[in-house]
């Protein structure tokens, strides 16, 4: 038995622990997905009629549903990431992580358990949101390749945001602050091309919206699902995901390896 098999085995055990938590308390997953679903319904049925007549390419409620679904998917991912930060912080404030740290197990396994568990949770949230969008009349034109690429992108974004949330959960001293810190992630998709074309925004906001990471991700996702082409935003989306993942992973690892606070 070598270090790697131990790391894999311990990580699998920790992933199992996270899944058990999810099965035992499905209300958290449902609440996180529910948040995005409520936003979807709100935008489509309350704003959709008005937006459909003027917002860029959208000329009807159905068009607007098509336009915002990728943005709502990102909100679902960000909500799931919020759940990650909360569960990491909960773990850290209870004695259980101190116990894990004094056992001869692979150190990384505690974080791996959270990341894999949260990744699954994020995908579940996105699947629920997509399911509701399909029921409302969302009709993507993507072929199998487009769907697969979209799934890959959702996975990459989730991976990046989950690692970022792990770090945010670790840096928080209390569970309360862990539930507040990632809040901007949930709002960031609103300040992108997710809900209105950036051309309609005032200059400063427009500049921000065009350069923030959610815009290329949403543009790419929209292009893949609707088969309209990604217009070069794909490279930016992938680069953002890779960058955020790397920085967050290094940050989280550093936070986890430091001595726990007295």
């Amino acid at each position: 038995m070598n270090t790697l098999t131990h790391a894999v085995g311990d990580s699998a055990t920790m992933v199992g622990r996270q899944f058990r938590h999810m099965v035992r308390y499905p209300s958290l997953t449902l609440m996180l997905a529910g948040q995005a679903i409520v936003l979807l319904l709100l935008f489509v049925y309350v704003f959709g009629g008005a937006m459909g007549t003027g917002a860029g390419a959208a000329t009807s409620r159905a068009d607007y549903l098509e336009y915002i679904t990728p943005g709502i998917m990102m909100i679902a991912v960000a909500s799931a990431a919020l759940g990650t930060a909360i569960s990491v912080a909960t773990d850290m404030t209870e004695g259980i992580v101190a116990r894990f740290r004094t056992m001869a197990i692979a150190r990384v396994s505690v974080l791996t358990g959270h990341v894999v568990g949260s990744l699954f949770q994020a995908l579940l949230c996105v699947a629920l949101v997509t399911g509701v969008a399909l029921l409302l009349g969302f009709r993507p034109t993507a072929g199998p390749g487009g769907w697969l690429a979209a799934l890959g992108l959702v996975l990459m974004v989730s991976f990046a945001l989950v690692w970022l949330s792990v770090a945010l959960g670790l840096v928080s001293k209390t569970v309360e602050s862990a539930s507040n810190l990632p809040m901007p992630l949930v709002f960031l998709p609103f300040l992108s091309s997710g809900f209105v074309p950036t051309e309609t925004l005032p200059t400063g906001l427009r500049w921000f919206a065009e350069y923030q990471p959610f815009t290329p991700v949403i543009e790419t996702l929209r292009g893949l699902l609707m088969g309209t082409g990604t217009g070069g935003s794909g490279v930016a989306a992938v680069a953002w995901c890779a960058g955020v993942t790397l920085v967050s992973y290094l940050w989280a690892r550093k936070l986890y390896n430091r001595d726990p606070a007295a």
Binding site: M1, H6, G9, D10, T13, G16, R17, R20, H21, R24, Y25, E94, G95, I96, A98, R99, F100, R101, T102, M103, A104, I105, D259, P260, A262
Partner: protein, 321 residues
Amino acid sequence: MAQHTPRTAITATGLRKSYGDHVVLDGVDLEIPAGTVFSLLGPNGAGKTTIVKILSTLIGADGGRARVLGHDVATEPDAVRAAIGVTGQYSAVDGLLTGHENLMLMARLHRLDRARARRRTAELLERFDLVDAAGKPASTYSGGMRRRLDLAMTLVGEPRLIFLDEPTTGLDPRSRRGMWEIIRGLVADGVTVFLTTQYLEEADQLADGIAVLDHGTLVAEGTAAELKRRIPGGHVRLRFTRADELESAARALGGETDDDALALRVPGDGGVASLRSLLDRLDTASITPEELSVHTPALDDVFLALTGHRGTDENERKAGR
């Protein structure tokens, strides 16, 4: 593991730790023989938990060296971790999992195969009286049950050295006695126990060796009996009905008089032999006290005697440590 057990379980020299300007440990030396119960006695904030954290590889020391079961805590943390078990002050159980699942989680992390994991889990649930609660989430357990589950989880890996950080703080007297029985059982199995406590009585009941920690330094070490001998807090109090009885008793026995209460305070450990000789002397002088009471030293007396200050002041605000 076919490794031989070193005769010394823990050696530490000059352990130091500070948080900012606050010095928590200021040069602590320890030598703990294997197979014994060692008790670190001290008030909240004395640095007990910090020592446990350093020796159990949870945090690093700023200075000094420590070896646990022959391994250096700083350079071979995984070898130390493989041989120890830690039950901290705050229960380290997964509240969302059941008692059974918590133990199975530990068994898996100790890489027991499925059959052995199940056997060990069943055995520990039985031993810690948790069979009926095994299927319930640990968050629904009472304080005493959580502690028992916590300790059971620590024992899954059959550690040769166990750290128990204030294992009975916050428990009712019955659960406390139950915990003492469990600790005695561990020692009978040859496990070394490092116990921290705020209660002299607990150290007295369980420990072979005691060290008293105050403001990050050890102020006394020895057996319970040795420590108590150094403490003037133990005394016999005699109360009389008349002032002349008090006077003649004071002449016969010495000690401190309290004229207002008509009481005499005679230093002594309250043991049967010293009490018998005291009563003999009273008999000889034909004095019969109205009332006799034996006062054994409390932790506060220990601190007052050893450090010149009460143990519990200024520490309430640091209780979170």
